[in-house]
Symmetry: D2
Subunit: 312 residues, 4 copies
Amino acid sequence: VPVTTIAFAGMEGALAHAAVRGLPAAEHASLLPLPNVTSTIDAVRTGRADAALVPLENSVEGAVAATLDELANSAALVIREETYLSVSFGLMGRPGTVLANVSSVAAPTHVEAQVRRWLIDTLPTARVALVASTVAAVQAVADGECDAGVGAVFTSMLNGLDILAHDIAGTPPAVTRFVLLSRPMPPPERTGNDLTTLVAFLREDHYGDALLEILIEFGTRGINLTRIESRPTKNRIGDYCFSIDCEGHVDDARVGDAVAALRRVCADVRYLGSYPRQSGLQGPLPPGRSDSDFAESRSWLANIRESGTSQI
Amino acid sequence: VPVTTIAFAGMEGALAHAAVRGLPAAEHASLLPLPNVTSTIDAVRTGRADAALVPLENSVEGAVAATLDELANSAALVIREETYLSVSFGLMGRPGTVLANVSSVAAPTHVEAQVRRWLIDTLPTARVALVASTVAAVQAVADGECDAGVGAVFTSMLNGLDILAHDIAGTPPAVTRFVLLSRPMPPPERTGNDLTTLVAFLREDHYGDALLEILIEFGTRGINLTRIESRPTKNRIGDYCFSIDCEGHVDDARVGDAVAALRRVCADVRYLGSYPRQSGLQGPLPPGRSDSDFAESRSWLANIRESGTSQI
Amino acid sequence: VPVTTIAFAGMEGALAHAAVRGLPAAEHASLLPLPNVTSTIDAVRTGRADAALVPLENSVEGAVAATLDELANSAALVIREETYLSVSFGLMGRPGTVLANVSSVAAPTHVEAQVRRWLIDTLPTARVALVASTVAAVQAVADGECDAGVGAVFTSMLNGLDILAHDIAGTPPAVTRFVLLSRPMPPPERTGNDLTTLVAFLREDHYGDALLEILIEFGTRGINLTRIESRPTKNRIGDYCFSIDCEGHVDDARVGDAVAALRRVCADVRYLGSYPRQSGLQGPLPPGRSDSDFAESRSWLANIRESGTSQI
Amino acid sequence: VPVTTIAFAGMEGALAHAAVRGLPAAEHASLLPLPNVTSTIDAVRTGRADAALVPLENSVEGAVAATLDELANSAALVIREETYLSVSFGLMGRPGTVLANVSSVAAPTHVEAQVRRWLIDTLPTARVALVASTVAAVQAVADGECDAGVGAVFTSMLNGLDILAHDIAGTPPAVTRFVLLSRPMPPPERTGNDLTTLVAFLREDHYGDALLEILIEFGTRGINLTRIESRPTKNRIGDYCFSIDCEGHVDDARVGDAVAALRRVCADVRYLGSYPRQSGLQGPLPPGRSDSDFAESRSWLANIRESGTSQI
């Protein structure tokens, strides 16, 4: 299925723009910038775009709530790909600006946490204006609304601004993980190093026990988790679901078996796609968890049920 | 399949004889008494008998090693039925015998443990002659080889002996669980209150962990165990298998799924039959473990794999 | 220790202002409004305030990242109290404003997610200006910078604005959980219905297994969890810690024992306080988990070690 | 405490006699042969002997029920030492006896299971007379009561009998584990490679779950089990306790902590001694389970409770 329109959250020159341009699928696609994650995802749901690239997690802030919540609720979408972008943030100002004179700083909402500590230490009296994106921050500086703005260093040259300070988000540079979403379709072929994303809705309030139950279903099948986030289910504090990435592909016997087991022990399970993993390698499987082990044990069971014995 | 010859370990008048006569299947069968468990089981393997009734466990002594080991090794057999027999043991002597004068006691090997404490307390100086069966104990008394013999109270009248002491095995009376074995054949229909018997051979030496793994496979599927025995695998101390009874029938989805999972995590699994339970009632299933839950989760998974989404 | 200055994140009239005024401790305290969570927490660390009231989680957005991260890192603080505030959000405009004419909306960053869906559905073409607080949103409307602003309904009357739409954050109203922080001091007395907050830093990357290990330490001691959040440790994607609330008080034997066990199995554990629980009731303890059970088992063990036997 | 009288089950020349003579403690002790395990153990309880050497398990038969049950019930004893004896069994006859003419065989009860298969295959028509010990088997042959007897090969030369067949118990030779029991006294010093023996009585009938709970208490503390046996509690079928050997010494912090935890989750726990391990080596401890880890975590907890913070 050739993708022809890819929506992304941000404007031209923004972080997401750099991420989307790195995708092979984007080479022959038209790119559609949209103001935020929700509208970007909606563009796929309504058919205005064929795919959407949105941030899922960040090495500093953790999960991107808007993305997780859109995926867990409303019409179903699936993750087709993941991609990582490492960004070094700096403070930018109009040419001639001196750090000591900065009294107002435009900071994008999703970046502010990463630079908060630096701003409080370095510019304790500066007013921080939260803006919607790194592009908006640059614009606020260019327009003279703020003395300085927080942005990805690579964008400063596009705008004729000076870099007043480098690496203000701390070391190491923040890494953002983006996912490419589409309307439901069968997953890409297995590569042997895949991830599967799920949302598991808990059946009950005691979610220490419910979470234990979920982890055991993965653990007994030799499946490692690479991400787990609790999310409120939009009802009340204490009603949670878990957003999960696990190693393997839904077409792997052990992963399918675990997903079906979750279906039985959870109130609900939403499958959000299997796709090639871009960061890290799947470890060796413990004995007895390969596809052929599952196939053998099932035909062995079928034979017991028919013949009445396990001894051939 | 009408059973026509049923072997049992013991002679006419022995405990096993009483047990076998209580079986509906025995009504039109010829009964074949044999000297011990091994030869009784062999009679089925060689075709000399169609079924064999042997003791599996006893409320005092625990597992009957000979039965467990024959089932775990050699040619495959299956359990068709279980039955329980409660026996009160007494000390029997020739008419006129006085307890104070008893200086030798014939005790069947498999009963001796139950009456050992009583004998040591009551007849501390008496010589105990271990004999092969309760019938042999009675015979040893009748023949004058011993002053008294330990036997089931119900057999004394058959032999013209006096009861010198009642209930010498302590309170409550010992209960023996017998199983009826046959060559492999499909199990009887499910009744909703069945047991399944298995032997699980461990893959590795650390069997605290291996046993944990086995218990979790049952536990996550809501299957209660009613018996678990570790048995040496006839190699060396420390090499063990586990003999297990669990609630449910191999045709139950959850039981079949657990048995197939054991097949993957264990070095080997031997299935020994599913049959109606005669003692105790299966508790309510936790949610998500019924046959329809398994069927639903599997078709749900098949749909995900085909369509790429869990949301219909 | 009487609290004399309580910092809170927000201005007078803001959500946090309403929350802080509901605290008994605030009755005789001076209140110090500060622009954001980080500076509010810093005020306690530097001694400028004696306590700080900050949001910890929200029934819609989940965890408040800034609060969790400040508690997990930098100088130690403890939670003294928790309090809940339920807020109904509305859209406010200058008198005479008509919904159909609204083309720009000021929305506080932390509220925007809750009203995002309503704004996209109702005002799809409106520009959304993210501002730092509900007070700033109201101000932006009063100043004419935006046509409408999102805020707590209770603040509209303070500002002479009209309510253009009620309950725009969906039903039920969002509940925010605030915590009162202080510099370290011994916890308040046990009440029998307490919570304890911890951060557990994982020893290894395979955090499915590490999380399982943590949950088991709570589970075996009969301790229910009421919140668990994975958080990046500010190093790289995949390096996580868990922020945890559990039932009970660190002075409860079972809680202390679990916390000490976590200390052994985790890379690090940070204790963040025990305090009376304001929402929900602790369930009955399973047998063997009371303080007296712990005391009895320890003196029993000491006696074994001294005498060489468990039988008195 | 110098041991001066050691009881053992068997007569001079019997298997247990060989085992007891191998004990360093036996060098200056007088040895007291007694007819069976129960009377041997009673000799220690009554003070007639200072110690008793009895078999605990056998690589073919598994647990020795009489020993386990005596240890689990009645007055408390402790295990001071373990020792292993490997025995090759043969068939012995009076000089001139030919295997083909053997029609009666005297077999000790506790050995019969090991040679049963050989006897059925080689002497299918021979009558088997169960006798109380290997010494009694030899005596029955010498007295002409049986044509042949089953015994340890090493005893034949003592009695002037011929070996009619070697290694009839199958390969490899059976190994018996003996334990030296005494009245309660503090355990020997830790060696770094010790075992601890316990009996855990279950609180409830669902012993799949109860056993899981027990295994988890060991597993979370990094303690490997080397033996676990379910035993009926002498009440009724289904009421079980578990006889357990675990790696480590009750003076090890992790073992003491696990034993105290069992005390809380079980109906009762009986401690039966810590002693140097003679077979196998303890594996490396997982991180966080050493004595110093336990000491550190406890003083860390004490500091939290006093100061209100984990951060020094």
